[in-house]
Amino acid sequence: MDPVSIYIFGIPAYTLLWVITLISLFFFVKRAYKIVRILKKARPESRFDNFSSRIMNFVKFVLGQQKLFNEKAIGLPHFLFFWGFVFYATSFWWNLIRGLFPFLPIPYADEVPVVGTILEISGVLVLLSIIIAVSRRLFFRPEHLQKSFDAGIILSLIAILMITLILGQGFKNTQEATVWSPVGAQVASFFGAMEHSKAVSLYNLMWWIHIVSVLFFLAYIPYSKHLHLLTSPVNVFLLNEDIPQSLDIKNAPEEITQGSSQWNEFTWKQIFQTLTCAECGRCDRVCPALNSGYKLSPRSILHEMKINLYDTAFKNIDAEKADKQLIGDYISEEELWQCTTCMACMERCAVLNEHLTSIIQMRRYLVGQGNIEATVQDMLQKMTRYGNSFGQSERNRAKWTAGLDFKIKDARKEEVEYLWITGDYAAFDVRVMNLTQATARIFNCAGLDFGILYEAEKNSGNDVRRIGEEGLFEFLKDKNTQILEKTKFRYIVTTDPHTYNTIKNEYHLNNADRTNGNAIKVFHYTEVIDQLIKNSKLKINKFLNQTATYHDPCYLGRYNGIYEPPRSILKTIGVKVVEMPRNRNQSYCCGAGGGRIWMEDKTQIKERPSESRIKEAVALKDVSTFVVACPKDIAMFTDAIKTTGQEEKLVVKDIAELVWESVATV
């Protein structure tokens, strides 16, 4: 029963196998070569450092399929698909090599007892999974999962593979039954007695259909969306863990900061990742912009980049100019500006794509063209001139301290342990100033040695950078760094999570004489307050006995993993936290990030992200307080409560406000 020892059309079968294999490999290699050429023509960036953590990611996200399990219905089926695929691929190559080199003294994979058993059983399971996958597409299609021709082909192919395998085992079993072939035995019993030659030729037929299908699959994969089968494991390996917390692109040429408007202006990784998208729609399902009725879909950003790549680089790699422009004909400016940079898409992505870096690359290009809406332009001008988005005199930055009955140390003049960087909203927005005062009172009450920079502090540039104004970010960063280098302090504490993110991840502050060359520790005020409580520096005088819900700010939670300190504080001061369905890393953005707070809604939308969030909170039982830990959240959610008419049911409170309430003795 050796399927290659026969003659087909008078030709020795193994010769035929050679021919088919070479044709298949030819198409595969041709495409792979083209892709590599394209990647080499894109801009460089470094993605091969930290080898060990890359391996760890590979184990976690490829072998362990960790991200897949955050959507329950598909988690296990995909896990089985994946491992089934690995197993089948291995046995396929084994069989192919045995077929190409018939003189090798090894059996076919399915002839090895345990292997054959596993192949058979998993074959059945895969068939069942296919039924689930097909019915998911046909009957229970989740939003944003695209029905495609490609998916149809691939599912049919897999079905053919499994059916031919199982039938083949069945035909074999009609002749000699073994305990290692339980499924084959079942199928054989269905066929009943069969002539030896008929069974052999049917078995051979199945074998050939199977192997030719796989070889067809091999040639077809790199031309289809199922390229992700091959590219996504590589993509996981290429992950830089500090993206998008930091938008620095390692070892990329200077021009990268001028943005990208065509394929060869992106880095090779940004190009490569478009080929790894499985179009599963996870990112779309969590995107606050898309779900509010905006046009932006993170999936289609990568998809359109890929289509553009097909239309340009794949057609003519050397063409200077394309007839159709990536920004304009494939992706609209509008979509690019709708991103709140909340990172939900990246958090969800099963293949660890970095949607944000591509969006910001294109924003950088638009900024370079001066193509920015008037309100943002106005803000950038104010930021350039006054160092804050409010367009106020720098001298007013510490005006909020006027209401305090103690003086906050001037960190420019005396050494402090904690240097407090408040950010613009905490210092200038009249709605937030009293909360900043509350934080100051808490620090003061706990005896924390802290100070501020008074008018020397400038906006940290986090949002400016995410708008794509890289030059202004560098300018602000330089100005802040200059003053920070002259200031004596041990730690930095921030009020604004956005400020927190950029100083922690993008400023790369270290000062040899202060911390032995280690990076300076940056804390969010909730972390500091939590520590002050835990170290009994801050005495709680009153339990608030309230029930509240807590909103994780994107730049604190998803970006930097700070989930527990705020919750622990609330628990200590007697606030019972009832979680919203979307909490921690699945928290839903307020809509202010990435510069959105300065942009206008030009088109009619369903509801703002902040409104959706308020409705989510209102639906909770007994919750009347919506606790936040970000000054921009105060502004966004206070508005949303008004626009949704929930003033009676819900109030927004900053965590500092509640802490002060429980600390203050009077």
């Binding site: 900061t257 900024v367 370079g368 332009q377 350039t384 890289e470 030059g471 560098e474 300018f475």
Partner: protein, 259 residues
């Protein structure tokens, strides 16, 4: 079609203005300078015209704190040449500046048949009136201020412009070139230039610096004193939370028969 844009820095009123010890000038410790708003519009209008009709733009400004930023920004926006006139300019107002700009234009031979000279319509410190008319008188050219739109006419020898009057009325005028025009507002708000572009301009291009002899320049009229507008009738301030204040306003509106 050559355009000369005359720029000037003025005190930034976002910052607190303090009167100096002499009570005749502003305390320089508290001052920051910013390009006069209508000059910013004049520059924008020049760029718009250059984009539409071609030509070259020369931007010139007297030396002042932060003037370099304004001039580099002008280069980044599309000016071909930027010039800083060295010197201390505090005491010179529009008549003096008109003298200096006239000398500058003469020395550099900038006045061609089709030259358009643009500047801001009025600045917040124009105690002696508008530069544009003084300059027009000195150069013997037609001058017009409060302009919000400029188009070249097809003959190439004249421009059509819109001047604002009051009550929403505007007048359309035809002015033969060369001319001195004071821009109130450009057709589009002044554009934003990314910092990176300005920084790279700073590295690759230079601000020309020249000195103009000051003999014969009319000094400004003497200020007796400066003072802050205190003691004026001030509004009666309403205090309280939004609800209380709103209630009070509704009462006032009712009393006055408005609602």
């Amino acid at each position: 079609m050559n355009i000369v844009v005359l720029l000037k820095m003025v005190p930034d009123v976002v910052e607190e203005l303090k009167i100096g010890d002499d009570f005749k000038s502003l305390d320089s410790d508290w001052l920051r300078y910013i390009l006069s708003e209508s000059d910013e519009h004049a520059l924008e209008q020049a760029i718009i015209l250059k984009e539409k009709y071609g030509g070259t733009i020369t931007a010139v400004a007297p030396e002042a704190p932060e003037v370099d930023d304004a001039l580099y920004s002008a280069l980044a926006k599309g000016a071909d040449r930027v010039v800083k006139i060295k010197g201390e300019w505090d005491i010179y107002r529009a008549p003096g500046l008109a003298f200096v700009f006239t000398r500058f234009i003469e020395i550099n031979n900038l006045l061609g048949e089709h030259t358009l000279i643009l500047s801001g319509s009025q600045a917040i410190d124009d105690l002696e009136g508008e530069l544009v008319y003084y300059l027009a008188e000195r150069l013997g050219l037609p001058g017009c201020c409060v302009v919000t739109s400029v188009q070249y006419n097809s003959d190439g020898n004249s421009i059509t412009l819109l001047k604002e009057f009051s009550a929403g009325l505007r007048g359309e005028f035809e002015v033969s070139l060369p001319a001195v025009i004071g821009i109130q507002a450009a057709e589009n708000p002044p554009r934003y230039i990314p910092i990176a572009k300005i920084r790279s301009i700073m590295k690759t291009q230079k601000i020309e610096e020249i000195e103009i002899p000051l003999e014969g320049v009319p000094p400004g009229i003497a200020i007796e004193k400066l003072f802050e507008p205190v003691g004026l009738e001030r509004a009666e301030f309403l205090e309280g939370n939004p609800e209380e204040v709103s209630r009070r306003l509704v009462e006032i509106f009712s009393e006055k028969g408005i609602i």
